[in-house]
């Protein structure tokens, strides 16, 4: 399931085996929230060549609906993405987006943010929906707690999360798993516990006892300081089995990803590169040798900058958006033209910026993999 290839201090270079093939880690998984990497065609996604893309169960269960996706052969066929797909449980968006919700031992009742329709998401239902979607890497349903929170609430919450994780495992084993193990999706548990180390430890132990194909660290990047986040990772990663992949959910900025890799995290997803592209923010390496694979990111302090494509100084800048890009559009269009596209609000602007940022993120992961392999 996971092969550790090389370790450098805590940083791990590995390979995650899915039913759709191997995934070189550390890896970054771009987010196809609603079954598409916003503004990009799948031809462009294939050129970007991420190893995994992430679909959001909450959004997909509402539109087009998980039964509809199943009927059409699964999300891979629907969106023409041949590689592995990871789905979240739906829980995070239920807690952050939906209207009135009621949480119980059995699951969470909520109303769609689109039309108010009522749904009930149980641990079993979440796995069933993810399976309908055709997920290759499924996540258990967990309670996503906003920080800060009382310790008492958090203690109860991780109990619930462990209980739900156990129910997900059971449902998966009974209803999803086939005897041909190579055809099975993977199922990941999620360690919760806020910033309380003993609760994180308890959560990790519970999940390891249940047994999963991988372990995610959830409930981070929700308002705590970066230092707090790194502390949790430094404490939690050593508790997790060496022979399973570790996934830090929803994180983050490039430097956060590098730090998390140093702590021993293998997998990442984040909306930042796409969301910031929408606002015109472009990510770029401080040293263009990064595009020739000549930078060791584990040894660099500050390796990137961002710039807003709408800035005045780009008004007459005829340099290419990025001359090192594999995309003709980024090599041939000027910064001045990109600025103009943002000013006149052509959707092409967002698309070019998204390509730029995702290409940056994926190159960053490549550099991290190389850096760990070296020496």
């Amino acid at each position: 399931m996971y092969k550790l290839i090389k370790k450098q201090k805590q940083a791990r270079r590995g390979e995650l085996i899915t039913r759709k093939g191997g995934v070189q880690t550390p890896c970054f998984m771009p987010v196809a929230t609603k079954g598409a990497l916003k503004t990009l065609s799948i031809e462009e996604v294939k050129k970007l060549n991420p190893s995994v893309v992430l679909g959001n169960t909450y959004h997909l269960m509402l539109r087009p609906g998980s039964q509809a996706i199943k009927k059409m052969g699964g999300l891979s066929d629907f969106m023409n993405w041949p590689g592995p797909i990871l789905t979240d449980s739906g829980g995070f968006q239920v807690f952050s987006l939906s209207g009135i919700r009621k949480i119980s031992q059995k699951g969470v009742r909520f109303n769609s943010h689109l039309d108010g329709q009522e749904f009930f998401l149980s641990p079993e239902e979440s796995i069933k929906i993810q399976n309908n979607i055709g997920s290759d890497i499924m996540m258990v349903l967990d309670e996503c707690v906003e920080l800060p929170v009382e310790r008492k609430y958090l203690t109860e919450s991780i109990k619930l999360t462990s209980d739900w994780a156990s129910k997900c495992r059971d449902y998966f084993d009974k209803k999803i798993a086939s005897k041909d193990k190579k055809k099975n999706p993977l199922l990941f548990g999620i360690v919760q516990g806020g910033l309380e180390f003993d609760l994180r430890k308890k959560s990790a132990e519970d999940l390891i006892n249940i047994g999963f194909d991988g372990y995610a660290v959830g409930g981070l990047s929700v308002g705590e300081s970066e230092q707090d986040m790194y502390s949790v990772l430094e404490q939690v990663c050593p508790l997790l089995p060496e022979d399973k992949p570790r996934y830090l959910m929803g994180v983050g900025y490039p430097h956060q990803i590098v730090e998390a890799v140093k702590c021993g995290i293998d997998m990442f997803d984040c909306v930042i590169p796409a969301r910031e592209a929408r606002h015109g923010r472009l990510y770029q390496f401080s040293d263009s040798r990064a595009w020739k694979d000549e930078i060791n990111l584990l040894e660099k302090e500050k390796f990137y900058t961002t710039v807003n494509a709408k800035v005045k100084k780009f008004e007459f800048n005829l340099e290419p958006i990025r001359k090192e890009s594999q995309f003709a559009e980024l090599r041939e269009y000027s910064k001045a033209y990109l600025r103009h596209l943002f000013k006149v609000e052509d959707p092409l602007a967002q698309r070019l910026a998204t390509l730029n940022n995702l290409e940056f993120y994926l190159q960053m992961m490549k550099l991290l993999r190389q850096a760990i392999e070296k020496k």
Copy 2:
């Protein structure tokens, strides 16, 4: 400048020679209003392979400004489009979009619809701006009159339009034209006169007396019936010189273009394929042999249909958007997926529909050229 290759009744198959090469006519010119074919990258535009694209002087003079475009080497370089560019005079948008405006013999004073900034557009200024933009085919400034209008007003208006046309010609000859005729842009006059035949005739005669590289028919598709539009074309086209191209501005729906070609029109532009794509409307040939060049459009009554991509019947339709397309995206994505993209409002939806519609329009023009050449 224009070579008539073949005539079939009034329909003309020809070649327009511009400083950027020959343009096979009849032709359709997609609209790059603000210096981009909305949602499309220039890589996609090049694959569509239109012979000319149209830029809107009004929008470009406001953003990024005609001086800015000049400074950056012209619109061709700015948007990476190597082929010929036709620009309108700016007049149409001044009359339809801008705020308070005051028209005089000298030109039209108006306020930008963006920020209220005051501008004055004279015939001379329009040509100067179009030249700054780097236009290969320029249009004279004309008064765009809304129908219905009193005959008295229309009579005065065509006098003004002729006067402005003359000023444009003079300015062009003195300030733009070089001795090396091959390097000169073309300058087109615009016949006005509403639905009054004698005024159209007067307008055409005035313009022919001044002498232009081509003649446009303006002031149509502004609320009159299709029959009225065809009547004007039937009456006006025979008045225009055989050895000059004829351009019907801002028209139209596919069947209108076919009818206008039958009247002797050579060039078209229209926002319909892009605007309707935004709303999910897809154009398609009734007979798929049209994609194999096997349909004679001059002999067909009804050759196309439209369908809205958002219709319920596409919910589970796994057929490709269009299997005959040169674009992998249209061949590989299903109708169900396109419907989903519209439902979740991903900009990719508009882009796919725009590609579909422009490919349809350009194939229609190819079929028309073939039909005229035949027999």
